[in-house]
Symmetry: C2
Subunit: 201 residues, 2 copies
Protein backbone atom coordinates (compact mmCIF):
# COMPACT_ATOMS: atom_id res chain seq x y z
CA UNK A 1 0.00 0.00 0.00
CA UNK A 2 1.44 3.39 -0.99
CA UNK A 3 2.03 5.96 1.73
CA UNK A 4 1.58 9.66 1.29
CA UNK A 5 2.70 10.44 4.83
CA UNK A 6 4.61 9.01 7.76
CA UNK A 7 3.29 6.45 10.22
CA UNK A 8 3.29 9.04 13.03
CA UNK A 9 0.59 10.92 11.14
CA UNK A 10 -1.35 7.68 10.63
CA UNK A 11 -1.19 7.01 14.37
CA UNK A 12 -2.47 10.51 15.05
CA UNK A 13 -5.39 10.08 12.63
CA UNK A 14 -6.33 6.73 14.16
CA UNK A 15 -6.33 8.21 17.66
CA UNK A 16 -8.37 11.24 16.60
CA UNK A 17 -10.91 8.90 14.98
CA UNK A 18 -11.63 7.45 18.43
CA UNK A 19 -13.15 10.73 19.61
CA UNK A 20 -16.95 10.73 19.60
CA UNK A 21 -18.28 12.61 16.58
CA UNK A 22 -15.14 12.07 14.51
CA UNK A 23 -14.98 9.31 11.90
CA UNK A 24 -11.97 8.37 9.78
CA UNK A 25 -12.63 11.16 7.29
CA UNK A 26 -13.11 13.96 9.80
CA UNK A 27 -10.16 12.65 11.79
CA UNK A 28 -8.04 13.12 8.67
CA UNK A 29 -9.39 16.64 8.25
CA UNK A 30 -8.68 17.34 11.91
CA UNK A 31 -5.14 16.02 11.58
CA UNK A 32 -4.50 18.25 8.58
CA UNK A 33 -5.93 21.26 10.39
CA UNK A 34 -3.66 20.48 13.32
CA UNK A 35 -0.63 20.15 11.04
CA UNK A 36 -1.38 23.54 9.53
CA UNK A 37 -1.90 25.18 12.91
CA UNK A 38 1.06 23.57 14.58
CA UNK A 39 1.90 26.32 17.04
CA UNK A 40 -1.54 27.75 17.71
CA UNK A 41 -3.50 24.53 18.19
CA UNK A 42 -1.45 21.35 17.88
CA UNK A 43 1.22 22.01 20.52
CA UNK A 44 -1.24 23.63 22.98
CA UNK A 45 -3.59 20.66 22.55
CA UNK A 46 -0.77 18.18 23.18
CA UNK A 47 0.23 20.11 26.29
CA UNK A 48 -3.35 20.38 27.54
CA UNK A 49 -3.81 16.63 27.11
CA UNK A 50 -0.62 15.94 29.02
CA UNK A 51 -1.55 18.40 31.79
CA UNK A 52 -5.00 16.91 32.26
CA UNK A 53 -3.82 13.30 31.94
CA UNK A 54 -1.24 13.95 34.64
CA UNK A 55 -3.62 15.56 37.07
CA UNK A 56 -6.96 13.87 36.43
CA UNK A 57 -8.55 12.22 39.44
CA UNK A 58 -11.89 10.72 40.39
CA UNK A 59 -13.33 12.74 43.27
CA UNK A 60 -13.41 10.43 46.29
CA UNK A 61 -16.54 12.17 47.52
CA UNK A 62 -18.91 12.43 44.56
CA UNK A 63 -17.22 10.57 41.68
CA UNK A 64 -16.76 13.68 39.50
CA UNK A 65 -13.70 13.78 37.23
CA UNK A 66 -11.47 16.73 38.00
CA UNK A 67 -7.88 17.82 38.31
CA UNK A 68 -8.20 18.10 42.08
CA UNK A 69 -9.54 15.71 44.73
CA UNK A 70 -11.98 16.54 46.27
CA UNK A 71 -13.30 18.15 43.09
CA UNK A 72 -14.13 21.83 42.60
CA UNK A 73 -17.74 21.18 43.59
CA UNK A 74 -17.12 19.14 46.75
CA UNK A 75 -14.37 21.55 47.76
CA UNK A 76 -16.57 24.63 47.34
CA UNK A 77 -17.72 25.61 50.85
CA UNK A 78 -20.34 28.00 49.43
CA UNK A 79 -22.22 25.00 48.03
CA UNK A 80 -25.27 23.74 49.88
CA UNK A 81 -24.07 20.58 51.63
CA UNK A 82 -27.60 19.54 52.63
CA UNK A 83 -28.73 18.44 49.17
CA UNK A 84 -27.25 15.61 47.11
CA UNK A 85 -28.16 15.33 43.43
CA UNK A 86 -27.76 11.79 42.06
CA UNK A 87 -26.68 11.53 38.39
CA UNK A 88 -25.79 8.55 36.23
CA UNK A 89 -22.65 9.95 34.73
CA UNK A 90 -20.08 12.73 34.95
CA UNK A 91 -21.48 14.17 31.72
CA UNK A 92 -24.87 14.58 33.42
CA UNK A 93 -23.20 16.30 36.38
CA UNK A 94 -21.50 18.80 34.08
CA UNK A 95 -24.74 19.38 32.16
CA UNK A 96 -26.77 20.03 35.32
CA UNK A 97 -24.10 22.28 36.72
CA UNK A 98 -24.00 24.33 33.52
CA UNK A 99 -27.68 25.17 34.01
CA UNK A 100 -26.57 27.14 37.11
CA UNK A 101 -29.82 26.34 38.92
CA UNK A 102 -28.52 23.81 41.39
CA UNK A 103 -26.03 24.86 44.07
CA UNK A 104 -25.83 21.65 46.10
CA UNK A 105 -23.47 18.71 45.81
CA UNK A 106 -23.60 15.61 43.61
CA UNK A 107 -23.21 11.86 43.62
CA UNK A 108 -22.21 10.13 40.40
CA UNK A 109 -23.80 6.69 40.29
CA UNK A 110 -21.65 5.34 37.49
CA UNK A 111 -24.52 3.95 35.43
CA UNK A 112 -27.95 2.42 35.96
CA UNK A 113 -29.18 -0.93 37.16
CA UNK A 114 -29.61 -3.19 34.16
CA UNK A 115 -30.60 -6.83 34.35
CA UNK A 116 -29.77 -7.20 30.67
CA UNK A 117 -26.20 -5.93 31.04
CA UNK A 118 -25.75 -7.60 34.42
CA UNK A 119 -25.33 -4.32 36.31
CA UNK A 120 -26.38 -4.74 39.94
CA UNK A 121 -26.34 -2.33 42.91
CA UNK A 122 -22.82 -3.45 43.79
CA UNK A 123 -21.53 -2.17 40.45
CA UNK A 124 -22.78 1.34 41.20
CA UNK A 125 -21.91 3.85 43.92
CA UNK A 126 -25.09 3.01 45.82
CA UNK A 127 -23.52 2.33 49.23
CA UNK A 128 -21.53 5.55 48.99
CA UNK A 129 -24.77 7.44 48.29
CA UNK A 130 -26.61 5.79 51.21
CA UNK A 131 -23.78 6.54 53.62
CA UNK A 132 -23.58 10.16 52.49
CA UNK A 133 -27.38 10.54 52.60
CA UNK A 134 -27.54 9.27 56.19
CA UNK A 135 -25.09 11.93 57.34
CA UNK A 136 -26.73 14.31 59.78
CA UNK A 137 -26.72 17.48 57.71
CA UNK A 138 -28.16 16.03 54.50
CA UNK A 139 -31.88 16.74 54.15
CA UNK A 140 -32.70 16.03 50.50
CA UNK A 141 -31.63 13.64 47.76
CA UNK A 142 -32.61 14.65 44.22
CA UNK A 143 -32.75 11.74 41.77
CA UNK A 144 -31.66 13.19 38.41
CA UNK A 145 -31.38 9.99 36.39
CA UNK A 146 -32.26 9.77 32.72
CA UNK A 147 -35.94 9.39 31.84
CA UNK A 148 -35.22 5.97 30.35
CA UNK A 149 -36.58 2.63 31.57
CA UNK A 150 -33.26 1.77 33.23
CA UNK A 151 -32.97 5.24 34.71
CA UNK A 152 -36.46 5.11 36.19
CA UNK A 153 -35.99 1.58 37.51
CA UNK A 154 -32.84 2.75 39.25
CA UNK A 155 -34.69 5.77 40.64
CA UNK A 156 -37.32 3.52 42.17
CA UNK A 157 -34.66 1.26 43.65
CA UNK A 158 -32.77 4.21 45.16
CA UNK A 159 -35.96 5.75 46.56
CA UNK A 160 -36.66 2.46 48.32
CA UNK A 161 -33.13 2.18 49.68
CA UNK A 162 -33.26 5.78 50.92
CA UNK A 163 -36.52 5.30 52.82
CA UNK A 164 -34.77 4.82 56.15
CA UNK A 165 -32.11 7.46 55.59
CA UNK A 166 -34.28 10.23 57.01
CA UNK A 167 -34.06 12.42 53.91
CA UNK A 168 -36.59 13.82 51.50
CA UNK A 169 -36.22 12.02 48.15
CA UNK A 170 -37.25 13.99 45.07
CA UNK A 171 -36.91 13.49 41.31
CA UNK A 172 -36.67 15.78 38.29
CA UNK A 173 -40.04 16.85 36.87
CA UNK A 174 -41.35 15.38 33.63
CA UNK A 175 -42.93 17.75 31.13
CA UNK A 176 -42.46 19.77 27.99
CA UNK A 177 -38.87 20.69 27.21
CA UNK A 178 -38.50 24.47 27.06
CA UNK A 179 -39.00 25.51 23.44
CA UNK A 180 -40.61 22.16 22.63
CA UNK A 181 -43.62 21.95 20.32
CA UNK A 182 -46.53 19.75 21.39
CA UNK A 183 -46.93 18.35 17.91
CA UNK A 184 -43.46 16.80 17.99
CA UNK A 185 -43.55 15.35 21.50
CA UNK A 186 -44.24 11.73 22.33
CA UNK A 187 -47.39 10.61 24.13
CA UNK A 188 -45.53 9.75 27.32
CA UNK A 189 -44.12 13.26 27.70
CA UNK A 190 -47.50 14.85 26.93
CA UNK A 191 -49.27 12.60 29.46
CA UNK A 192 -46.64 13.40 32.11
CA UNK A 193 -46.89 17.13 31.40
CA UNK A 194 -50.68 16.93 31.69
CA UNK A 195 -50.59 14.96 34.93
CA UNK A 196 -48.12 17.37 36.50
CA UNK A 197 -49.90 20.48 35.28
CA UNK A 198 -49.69 23.48 37.60
CA UNK A 199 -51.96 26.40 38.35
CA UNK A 200 -51.12 29.49 36.32
CA UNK A 201 -50.58 32.34 38.73
CA UNK B 1 -19.85 31.42 37.43
CA UNK B 2 -19.75 28.09 39.22
CA UNK B 3 -17.14 25.60 38.14
CA UNK B 4 -17.68 21.88 38.04
CA UNK B 5 -14.11 21.15 36.90
CA UNK B 6 -10.66 22.66 36.77
CA UNK B 7 -9.45 25.21 34.25
CA UNK B 8 -7.10 22.66 32.66
CA UNK B 9 -10.17 20.72 31.54
CA UNK B 10 -11.77 23.92 30.21
CA UNK B 11 -8.62 24.63 28.21
CA UNK B 12 -8.72 21.11 26.79
CA UNK B 13 -12.39 21.49 25.78
CA UNK B 14 -11.73 24.83 24.11
CA UNK B 15 -8.84 23.39 22.12
CA UNK B 16 -10.82 20.32 21.08
CA UNK B 17 -13.64 22.60 19.91
CA UNK B 18 -11.24 24.07 17.33
CA UNK B 19 -11.07 20.77 15.43
CA UNK B 20 -13.26 20.71 12.33
CA UNK B 21 -16.46 18.79 12.97
CA UNK B 22 -16.37 19.35 16.73
CA UNK B 23 -18.46 22.09 18.33
CA UNK B 24 -18.53 23.07 22.01
CA UNK B 25 -20.90 20.24 22.93
CA UNK B 26 -19.06 17.46 21.12
CA UNK B 27 -15.76 18.84 22.39
CA UNK B 28 -17.09 18.35 25.91
CA UNK B 29 -18.16 14.81 25.07
CA UNK B 30 -14.73 14.17 23.55
CA UNK B 31 -13.00 15.54 26.63
CA UNK B 32 -15.05 13.28 28.90
CA UNK B 33 -14.31 10.28 26.71
CA UNK B 34 -10.63 11.13 26.88
CA UNK B 35 -10.77 11.49 30.68
CA UNK B 36 -12.38 8.08 30.95
CA UNK B 37 -9.88 6.46 28.59
CA UNK B 38 -6.84 8.14 30.06
CA UNK B 39 -4.31 5.41 29.36
CA UNK B 40 -5.70 3.93 26.16
CA UNK B 41 -6.47 7.12 24.25
CA UNK B 42 -5.60 10.34 26.09
CA UNK B 43 -1.91 9.74 26.78
CA UNK B 44 -1.25 8.11 23.37
CA UNK B 45 -3.00 11.05 21.65
CA UNK B 46 -0.92 13.58 23.59
CA UNK B 47 2.24 11.68 22.65
CA UNK B 48 1.20 11.37 19.00
CA UNK B 49 0.53 15.11 18.82
CA UNK B 50 3.92 15.86 20.34
CA UNK B 51 5.68 13.41 18.02
CA UNK B 52 4.09 14.84 14.90
CA UNK B 53 4.42 18.47 16.02
CA UNK B 54 8.13 17.88 16.58
CA UNK B 55 8.76 16.23 13.25
CA UNK B 56 6.32 17.85 10.85
CA UNK B 57 7.85 19.46 7.78
CA UNK B 58 6.69 20.88 4.49
CA UNK B 59 8.24 18.83 1.68
CA UNK B 60 10.64 21.14 -0.15
CA UNK B 61 9.88 19.32 -3.40
CA UNK B 62 6.10 19.04 -3.61
CA UNK B 63 4.71 20.93 -0.60
CA UNK B 64 3.20 17.84 1.08
CA UNK B 65 3.10 17.81 4.89
CA UNK B 66 5.06 14.90 6.30
CA UNK B 67 7.39 13.88 9.08
CA UNK B 68 10.30 13.60 6.65
CA UNK B 69 11.65 15.95 3.99
CA UNK B 70 11.52 15.08 1.12
CA UNK B 71 8.19 13.44 1.91
CA UNK B 72 7.35 9.75 1.58
CA UNK B 73 6.07 10.32 -1.95
CA UNK B 74 8.98 12.35 -3.32
CA UNK B 75 11.41 9.99 -1.60
CA UNK B 76 9.84 6.86 -3.07
CA UNK B 77 12.03 5.84 -6.01
CA UNK B 78 9.39 3.40 -7.27
CA UNK B 79 7.14 6.36 -8.07
CA UNK B 80 6.89 7.56 -11.64
CA UNK B 81 8.99 10.74 -11.75
CA UNK B 82 7.76 11.70 -15.23
CA UNK B 83 4.27 12.78 -14.18
CA UNK B 84 3.42 15.66 -11.84
CA UNK B 85 -0.12 15.93 -10.48
CA UNK B 86 -1.04 19.49 -9.42
CA UNK B 87 -3.43 19.79 -6.45
CA UNK B 88 -4.69 22.80 -4.52
CA UNK B 89 -4.13 21.46 -1.06
CA UNK B 90 -2.43 18.73 0.97
CA UNK B 91 -5.88 17.27 1.72
CA UNK B 92 -6.42 16.79 -2.04
CA UNK B 93 -3.03 15.10 -2.34
CA UNK B 94 -3.89 12.63 0.41
CA UNK B 95 -7.33 12.01 -1.10
CA UNK B 96 -5.92 11.30 -4.56
CA UNK B 97 -3.21 9.11 -3.16
CA UNK B 98 -5.73 7.06 -1.20
CA UNK B 99 -7.45 6.16 -4.46
CA UNK B 100 -4.28 4.19 -5.32
CA UNK B 101 -4.68 4.96 -9.01
CA UNK B 102 -1.92 7.47 -9.42
CA UNK B 103 1.71 6.46 -8.92
CA UNK B 104 3.47 9.66 -9.98
CA UNK B 105 4.56 12.65 -7.94
CA UNK B 106 2.65 15.75 -6.84
CA UNK B 107 2.86 19.51 -6.60
CA UNK B 108 0.77 21.27 -3.96
CA UNK B 109 -0.26 24.69 -5.27
CA UNK B 110 -1.33 26.10 -1.92
CA UNK B 111 -4.68 27.44 -3.11
CA UNK B 112 -6.22 28.87 -6.26
CA UNK B 113 -5.98 32.18 -8.03
CA UNK B 114 -8.69 34.44 -6.71
CA UNK B 115 -9.14 38.08 -7.68
CA UNK B 116 -11.68 38.47 -4.87
CA UNK B 117 -9.31 37.26 -2.16
CA UNK B 118 -6.30 38.92 -3.78
CA UNK B 119 -4.49 35.64 -4.46
CA UNK B 120 -2.13 36.04 -7.43
CA UNK B 121 0.35 33.62 -9.05
CA UNK B 122 3.11 34.80 -6.68
CA UNK B 123 1.11 33.57 -3.69
CA UNK B 124 1.02 30.03 -5.07
CA UNK B 125 3.77 27.53 -5.88
CA UNK B 126 3.49 28.30 -9.61
CA UNK B 127 7.17 28.98 -10.28
CA UNK B 128 8.16 25.80 -8.46
CA UNK B 129 5.73 23.87 -10.66
CA UNK B 130 7.04 25.45 -13.87
CA UNK B 131 10.66 24.77 -12.95
CA UNK B 132 9.88 21.15 -12.05
CA UNK B 133 7.78 20.69 -15.20
CA UNK B 134 10.60 21.93 -17.43
CA UNK B 135 12.98 19.31 -16.06
CA UNK B 136 14.06 16.89 -18.73
CA UNK B 137 12.39 13.72 -17.48
CA UNK B 138 8.92 15.18 -16.84
CA UNK B 139 6.50 14.39 -19.65
CA UNK B 140 3.04 15.10 -18.23
CA UNK B 141 1.39 17.53 -15.82
CA UNK B 142 -2.06 16.52 -14.56
CA UNK B 143 -4.16 19.43 -13.33
CA UNK B 144 -6.26 18.03 -10.48
CA UNK B 145 -7.79 21.24 -9.16
CA UNK B 146 -11.30 21.46 -7.76
CA UNK B 147 -14.13 21.78 -10.26
CA UNK B 148 -14.97 25.22 -8.89
CA UNK B 149 -14.79 28.52 -10.76
CA UNK B 150 -11.52 29.43 -9.03
CA UNK B 151 -10.10 25.96 -9.58
CA UNK B 152 -10.92 26.00 -13.27
CA UNK B 153 -9.59 29.55 -13.74
CA UNK B 154 -6.35 28.44 -12.14
CA UNK B 155 -6.25 25.36 -14.39
CA UNK B 156 -6.53 27.54 -17.48
CA UNK B 157 -3.80 29.86 -16.21
CA UNK B 158 -1.48 26.94 -15.45
CA UNK B 159 -2.16 25.33 -18.83
CA UNK B 160 -1.14 28.58 -20.50
CA UNK B 161 2.00 28.95 -18.40
CA UNK B 162 2.96 25.34 -19.13
CA UNK B 163 2.63 25.74 -22.90
CA UNK B 164 6.36 26.23 -23.42
CA UNK B 165 7.47 23.65 -20.86
CA UNK B 166 7.39 20.82 -23.40
CA UNK B 167 5.01 18.65 -21.39
CA UNK B 168 1.58 17.21 -22.02
CA UNK B 169 -0.94 19.05 -19.84
CA UNK B 170 -4.03 17.07 -18.85
CA UNK B 171 -6.93 17.60 -16.42
CA UNK B 172 -9.24 15.35 -14.46
CA UNK B 173 -12.34 14.24 -16.35
CA UNK B 174 -15.74 15.73 -15.60
CA UNK B 175 -18.70 13.37 -15.38
CA UNK B 176 -20.98 11.38 -13.13
CA UNK B 177 -19.54 10.53 -9.73
CA UNK B 178 -19.45 6.75 -9.26
CA UNK B 179 -22.68 5.76 -7.52
CA UNK B 180 -24.28 9.08 -8.48
CA UNK B 181 -27.90 9.27 -9.58
CA UNK B 182 -28.71 11.41 -12.60
CA UNK B 183 -31.79 12.85 -10.94
CA UNK B 184 -29.72 14.44 -8.19
CA UNK B 185 -26.93 15.86 -10.34
CA UNK B 186 -26.67 19.46 -11.45
CA UNK B 187 -27.03 20.51 -15.09
CA UNK B 188 -23.35 21.37 -15.40
CA UNK B 189 -22.23 17.88 -14.44
CA UNK B 190 -24.79 16.25 -16.72
CA UNK B 191 -23.75 18.45 -19.64
CA UNK B 192 -20.07 17.67 -19.01
CA UNK B 193 -20.79 13.94 -18.75
CA UNK B 194 -22.73 14.08 -22.02
CA UNK B 195 -20.03 16.04 -23.85
CA UNK B 196 -17.31 13.67 -22.70
CA UNK B 197 -19.32 10.52 -23.38
CA UNK B 198 -17.31 7.52 -24.48
CA UNK B 199 -17.97 4.56 -26.73
CA UNK B 200 -19.13 1.49 -24.79
CA UNK B 201 -16.85 -1.36 -25.65
Amino acid sequence: MPRSHGSEIDTLIQLLAKLPGLGPRSARRSALQLLKKRDSVMVPLANALHDVADSIEICSECGNLDTVNPCHICGDIRRDQTTICVVEDVADLWALDRSETYRGIYQVLGGTLSALDGVGPDDLNVEKLISRATQEDVTEVILALNATVDGQTTSHYLAERLEDAGVKVTALAHGLPVGGELDYLDDGTLAAALRSRGVVT
